[in-house]
C-alpha cells in the first residue's frame, strides 16, 4: 500500500485549550513541558506539533493512553476541534483554512466518523440513522434508502432497519455507526475508539469485520485506540502518542521490535508476544529434498545436516510430505524411490498463524511443523525451541522484518538443524 498517494497530511498541528493559547504556544516552542505550561498559563496542551502522512487505503492507528491527546488529534482532522496552529491537508487542500461551507462539504463528501459511544440518534430507526448523512445533503428518498440499505447489508444488519438503536446490542449499534459512516461513501473514515466500548469477544469480531470490509473497500482509515493489541491487529501503521506528542510512527513490527524510546518500550513490554508474533517470526529455513532425488541423496543430506527427518518438495517448492532417516535407509537398501516412503500427513501452518495457536501443534509433533503459504509452498519450519523462545520473549529467535531470511540463514549455518 506504500505506493499509494498521500491522502491526508497533518503538518505541525498543535491544539492548546485555555484562555491564553499564544503564550502557551510560545512556551511550547521554547521547549517547556506540558505540566510546566499548565502551571504557568493555565492552558492545557492537547496536541503538540503532530506531523504525519496517511496514504490512501491505509489503516493508520493513533494509539495512546487516555489523556494523550489522540481523541483531540483525530477531531482536528475534520475540525470538530479547530487546531490552534498547524495544517491539515486532505487531497491537496488545507482544511484549516476553509470557510464553513467548504468545510461542511468536506465533512459530507470526504470524511466521515465513527464514535466511541456510537452517537446514534435514539428517536430514529436504524435505517433513518444510516440515512442521516445523505438526508442532510438533500439526497432524494429512494436513493438514500438504497445506499443506506447497502451499507447496512455490508455490516451484516439486514432486517434490522426498522428497529430503534436501544433495541440493539452494543456491537450491533456500532455496526449501525459504521454503516452510517459508510453510507456517505467518503474516502476517509475516522474511527474514534470505535470498538473500545464493546466487550472483548465482540471487539475482536468487529476488528475482523473491519479488516474484511477494508480488503474490498480500500478506504483510508484513521483509527484511534488505547489498546495496543487492537492497534497491532488492524494497523498498517501506528502512531504512538504521549502527552499530546507523537513519540513514534511505524509499522506494528517496527514499534514492537524497535521501540524508539523508553515510553514505547514500556508500552509494548506488556504485550502478550504470543498474540503478536506469528509463525513467520520464529520459523527457520527448511531443509528440503526434491521428490525426484533418490533416498541416498536424502540420507546424505540428513547426515550432513545432522537431522533425522527432511521435508520433500517438488520443483516449485510445493510441500509433498516428509521422510525420516530410518525410512530413507530402508528404502536405499531395498532400492525404493522417495515416493514410496514419503509421509504426506505432516503438520502444516501458514505464516500468519499466531504463536498461541502454534504451541499445541509444535509440542505434539514428532518432526518440525511446516510453514506453508496458501499454495502449499514450503516457507520454513518451526523448531520447538524457537517457538518456546519466542513465547518467552527471547529476541534472538525472532526474525526481525526484512532481515528475517538472512538471519535465519546465518542462524541455521551456525547452529545447524537441531532435530
Amino acid at each position: 500500500m506504500r505506493e499509494h498517494n498521500v491522502k491526508l497530511s497533518v503538518k505541525n498541528v498543535t491544539k492548546v485549550f485555555g484562555k491564553n493559547p499564544k503564550k502557551a504556544l510560545q512556551l511550547l516552542n521554547d521547549g517547556n513541558s506540558k505540566t510546566d505550561i499548565l502551571k504557568r498559563t493555565g492552558s492545557t496542551v492537547g496536541v503538540n506539533q503532530a506531523t504525519f502522512d496517511v496514504h490512501a487505503g491505509e489503516i493508520f492507528v493513533i494509539m495512546g493512553l487516555s489523556g494523550s491527546g489522540k481523541s483531540t488529534l483525530v477531531r482536528t482532522l475534520n475540525r470538530l476541534i479547530d487546531p490552534t496552529v498547524g495544517e491539515v491537508w486532505i487531497d491537496g487542500k488545507d482544511i484549516t483554512k476553509m470557510k464553513k461551507e467548504e468545510l461542511r462539504n468536506i465533512r459530507r463528501k470526504k470524511i466521515s466518523m465513527v464514535f466511541q459511544n456510537f452517537a446514534l440518534l435514539p428517536h430514529r430507526t436504524i435505517l433513518e440513522n444510516t440515512e442521516y448523512g445523505l438526508e442532510i445533503q438533500g439526497v432524494d428518498k429512494e436513493d438514500r434508502k438504497e445506499k443506506a440499505l447497502n451499507a447496512l447489508k455490508l455490516v451484516g444488519l439486514e432486517g434490522y432497519e426498522n428497529q430503534f438503536p436501544k433495541q440493539l446490542s452494543g456491537g450491533m449499534q456500532q455496526r449501525v455507526g459504521l454503516a452510517r459512516a459508510l453510507a456517505n461513501d467518503t474516502d476517509i473514515l475516522l474511527m474514534d475508539e470505535a470498538f473500545s466500548a464493546l466487550d472483548p469477544l465482540i471487539r475482536k469480531d468487529m476488528q475482523d469485520e473491519l479488516l474484511e470490509l477494508q480488503s474490498t473497500m480500500e478506504k483510508t482509515i484513521i483509527f484511534i485506540t488505547h489498546d495496543l493489541d487492537e492497534a497491532l491487529r488492524i494497523g498498517d501503521k501506528i502512531a504512538l502518542m504521549k502527552d499530546g506528542e507523537i513519540v513514534q510512527i511505524g509499522s506494528p513490527e517496527e514499534i514492537l521490535m524497535n521501540p524508539s524510546n523508553q515510553y514505547v518500550e514500556r508500552f509494548v513490554e506488556d504485550v502478550d508476544l504470543s498474540k503478536v508474533l506469528t509463525a513467520s517470526h520464529v520459523m527457520k529455513r527448511a531443509e528440503t529434498v526434491q521428490i525426484d532425488k533418490g533416498p541416498r541423496v536424502a540420507l546424505q543430506m540428513m547426515k550432513k545436516l545432522g537431522i533425522s527427518s527432511i521435508y520433500v518438495v517438488d520443483k516449485k517448492q510445493i510441500l509433498l510430505g516428509a521422510i525420516t532417516a530410518d525410512d530413507a535407509k530402508t528404502a536405499a537398501e531395498n532400492g525404493q524411490t522417495l515416493q514410496a516412503i514419503i509421509n504426506p500427513n505432516v503438520q502444516k501452518v501458514t505464516g500468519e498463524t499466531l504463536l498461541t495457536d502454534l504451541f499445541d501443534k509444535v509440542s505434539t509433533a514428532t518432526i518440525p511443523v511446516a510453514v506453508v503459504d496458501e499454495n502449499n509452498r514450503l516457507y520454513g519450519i518451526l523448531v520447538r525451541g524457537a517457538v518456546i523462545g519466542g513465547l518467552a520473549g527471547n529476541n534472538e529467535v525472532i526474525n526481525v522484518l526484512e532481515e528475517a531470511k538472512k538471519e535465519v540463514a546465518a542462524d541455521q549455518s551456525s547452529k545447524g538443524g537441531n532435530q
Binding site: R75, N78, L80, R104, N105, I106, R107, R108, S112, M113, F115, Q116, N117, A119, L120, L121, P122, H123, Y132, G133, E135, I136, Q137, F164, P165, K166, Q167, R180, N184, L190
Partner: protein, 282 residues
C-alpha cells in the same frame, strides 16, 4: 440609615413609568387586548358549540390515546360531574383562558428557549428575568395589567403567561443542552447545518423535556385562574372567588373540585405527548 439617605422613590418612579407606558403604547396594548379577547372568545364559542356529552367523549378518547384507559375513564366521569354540578360553562371559560395562555406561552417560550440554548449571553440575560417573573407575587403584575389591558379576561391571560412561561423557557434550554455531546458531534461530523442540527437532532431529542416544561406551564396557568378572576376573568376561578367573598363553603368546594378535575385531566394528557412521539424510546 433613614437620616443619612432619603428613601428612594422607587414606587413613584414605577408609577410614572407605567403611566408613560400606558399612554405611549396605548395602541399596542389595545391591539393585544382585542386579539387576545378574540382568541379566548373564539375558543370558547367553538367549545360551547359542541354539545357537552360529545366534548366529554372526545376528551375521553384523547385521554385514552395519549394516556391510559384509567385516565380516560377518570376524565369522562369527572367531566360528567362538572356538567352535573352546573359548572360546564365556567369550565369552558377557564379552559379557553388556559389554552390561550398556553398557546402564547409555547409561541414565546420555545423560541426563546432555543435562542438562549444557542447563545450563552442570551441565556445569561434571560435567567434573572425568569427568576424575577416567577418569584414576584402574581398580584403585583395584575395591577399594571389592568392599566394596560383594562379589566376582563385579557389581564388574566397576560398574568398567566408571565407566570407560566418560565418553565417552558427553562426546560427548553435544559432539554437542548442535555442532548449528549457525542450526538451533537456526530451531527456536526456529517456536515449538518445549524438548523439541520437543531431541527433533526436537538429538538427531537429535547422534546420530552420541552413537553415537561409545557406541562408545567399548563399547571401554572391553571393555578392563576383564581387570581385572574380578581381582575374580572370569567370561569371557575370567578366561581371560587365569589364563593370565598360570600363565604359559601359548599359552592367554593364544588368550583374548586372542578378546577382539580380539570387540572388532573390536562396534566395526564399533556404529560405523555413528548414521550409518545418517540415511540417510548429516549
Amino acid at each position: 440609615m433613614e437620616g443619612l439617605l432619603p428613601k428612594l422613590p422607587l414606587a413613584d418612579w414605577i408609577d410614572s413609568f407605567v403611566d408613560w407606558l400606558t399612554v405611549t403604547f396605548a395602541f399596542i396594548f389595545d391591539a393585544i387586548t382585542v386579539s387576545l379577547e378574540g382568541i379566548v372568545e373564539g375558543l370558547f364559542t367553538v367549545l360551547e358549540f359542541i354539545p357537552s356529552y360529545i366534548l366529554i367523549i372526545l376528551i375521553g378518547l384523547l385521554a385514552w390515546k395519549l394516556s391510559t384507559k384509567g385516565i380516560a375513564l377518570f376524565a369522562i366521569i369527572g367531566l360528567f360531574l362538572i356538567d352535573n354540578l352546573g359548572y360546564w360553562e365556567g369550565m369552558l371559560e377557564t379552559l379557553s383562558l388556559v389554552l390561550t395562555a398556553v398557546i402564547i406561552t409555547v409561541v414565546i417560550g420555545i423560541p426563546m428557549g432555543i435562542w438562549a440554548s444557542q447563545k450563552n449571553t442570551v441565556k445569561q440575560i434571560i435567567t434573572p428575568i425568569l427568576d424575577f417573573m416567577q418569584t414576584m407575587p402574581a398580584f403585583v403584575y395584575l395591577i399594571p395589567a389592568i392599566f394596560f389591558f383594562s379589566i376582563g379576561v385579557v389581564p388574566g391571560v397576560v398574568a398567566s403567561v408571565i407566570f407560566a412561561v418560565p418553565p417552558t423557557i427553562r426546560l427548553t434550554i435544559l432539554g437542548i443542552q442535555q442532548v449528549p455531546a457525542d450526538i451533537i458531534e456526530a451531527a456536526e461530523a456529517f456536515g449538518s447545518t445549524t438548523s439541520q442540527r437543531l431541527l433533526k437532532v436537538q429538538l427531537p431529542l429535547a422534546m420530552p423535556t420541552i413537553m415537561a416544561g409545557v406541562n408545567q406551564s399548563i399547571m401554572l396557568s391553571l393555578s392563576m385562574v383564581v387570581i385572574a378572576s380578581m381582575v374580572g376573568s370569567p370561569g371557575l376561578g370567578a366561581d371560587v372567588y365569589r364563593a370565598v367573598t360570600q363565604i359559601q363553603i359548599g359552592k367554593g368546594f364544588e368550583a374548586g373540585l372542578a378546577i382539580v378535575v380539570m387540572a388532573i385531566i390536562l396534566d395526564r394528557i399533556t404529560q405523555n405527548i413528548g414521550i409518545k412521539k418517540q415511540g417510548g424510546k429516549i
